[in-house]
Assembly symmetry: C2
Homo-oligomer: 289 residues x 2
């Protein structure tokens, strides 16, 4: 299967599972189910859950046990987008060509549907840890994966990065603070996807270290590629980006370097099937849109 075919197949798996969560969900509060579902299905690329599943599969040969955690991660990513788009945050009316959540459901329901997705992510991880665990080692493994995701999502991860992003609108930041922001806001969740997938697959500590490095490289590379594409497309930029401190050439070299480093991190897994993770790293860091 080609990379794109495999991505499409995994997207279908994830979409089906996400849909199943909302089947027959009714009640007085059903407006929030609609709002959550709306944002879960506005054309997300499912990169984080796909990385989680394939990282697990690379280690263990199967991704079945990782599915609930992949869904949880996509919910956390989606809630962050809903809250980011709010009028008091980035004030975006459209995302991926569709009206943002608050434009359709109003601000109050948008905030609550974000809250609902974040909470549901944890409900799902907790419930499935109970369901899947047969022994002490299982509990430990799933809890470690949940911990990885929770840290990456929190105030020392994604939320922390978003705080710096918001504050940087009104005050200038230096290259160190930008690096912190990129690491937290974008790279943390991508790193957590790869690492938690590996943990669920049964990776040992050295393997986890290498998966972490791989995830960090593609997370940062993905973000700098974004900055390069923004310049290429000549979009209006008032924000501080990697290109505020570096030339376009340096940025491209950095992306090239991260791409190679990501590939190198996979070398210890050479007895496993690493094709997908190798190809998707290249694809994410070197994409043209």
């Amino acid at each position: 299967m080609s990379l794109i075919d495999e991505i499409d197949h995994l997207k279908e798996v994830i979409d089906d599972e996400l849909n199943r969560i909302f089947v027959n969900k009714t009640g007085y509060q059903e407006k929030i189910f609609q709002a959550m579902k709306y944002s879960l299905f506005t054309g997300g690329k499912r990169i984080r859950p796909i990385l989680l599943l394939k990282s697990c599969e690379m280690i263990s040969g199967s991704y079945d046990e990782a599915i609930p955690f992949a869904l949880a991660l996509e919910m956390i990513h989606t809630y962050s987008l809903i809250h980011d788009d709010l009028p008091s945050m980035d004030d975006d009316d459209f995302r991926r060509g569709k009206p943002t959540n608050h434009k359709i459901f109003g601000e109050a329901i948008a905030i609550l549907s974000g809250d609902g997705l974040l909470n549901l992510a944890y409900e799902i991880m907790i419930e499935n840890t109970i369901l899947f665990s047969k022994n002490r080692e299982d509990y430990y493994k799933f809890l470690l994966a949940s911990k990885e995701i929770s840290k990456a999502s929190g105030i020392d991860g994604m939320i922390g990065g978003q705080v710096v992003d918001i504050l940087s609108d009104s005050e200038s930041i230096d290259s160190l603070e930008l690096e912190f922001m990129y690491r937290c806001k974008t790279a943390a969740l991508i790193e957590a996807a790869v690492v938690s997938g590996g943990i669920i697959g049964g990776a040992n500590e050295i393997e986890i270290d290498n998966l972490r490095k791989y995830g960090r490289c593609i997370g940062l590379g993905y973000q700098i590629r974004d900055d390069i594409l923004d310049i290429d497309e000549d979009r209006a930029i008032n924000k501080t980006t990697y290109l505020s401190f570096n030339s376009l050439e340096t940025a491209k070299e950095k992306v090239e370097y991260l791409s190679k480093e990501a590939k190198l991190s996979l070398e210890i897994f050479k007895d496993n099937n690493i094709t997908f993770l190798e190809e998707i790293a290249y694809y994410l860091i070197n994409r043209n849109k």
Copy 2:
């Protein structure tokens, strides 16, 4: 120790532990730490964490293992207040006599500090489950307590109740829908406090059932008492409450009934020290402010 002395002592325990979480927490995102701390320390009565600790202690004789879960519950309660107060929700400028979070820190940081508290609650529960568990039974117990709290906080619990509350501003609701709202918005988290405390203490299924009934009675009683106090204080009410469908006398009878039922639910624990839970039930349901 009198009930009030004991409540004051437990509040101190909880405040100290909450404070400890933020000691030496600095970083580019430190504005969010300030915002989270601000709302955690604006005079909350700590009812939910106190119930959690004392329910655990009633079963096991100690509440040490329950502390992180009590903190998590208070964080979830606090995040819900921050988001409830937002302009697009209840639009409150003051809470407990102090400016609300968004009045001090702005809407964006208020939303993010709510998100941060919700996420941190789960980080703490997950981390301490790993830390405290020596065997399979421990993992199961702490995960069950976390599940109880997560369900009560989510779209079929507190968030679901808040959705109905928001929607009821623009459309009238009947008594069944009001009951749903009360059960979700107020009672669910109080019930979860008592039940999860019991689970951590090692309660068996019959004991959990009785703790659940106890928690549900005081949760609902607490809310109806609120409605009665609002009438007594002649506050302007445009909202549907228990008194929209029932006379003041019926409401008082209902509260009396719930108070007795709560007490009855504790009978099976008569060999344990139930004084505190008996007294706080009466205190919460029959309070005058």
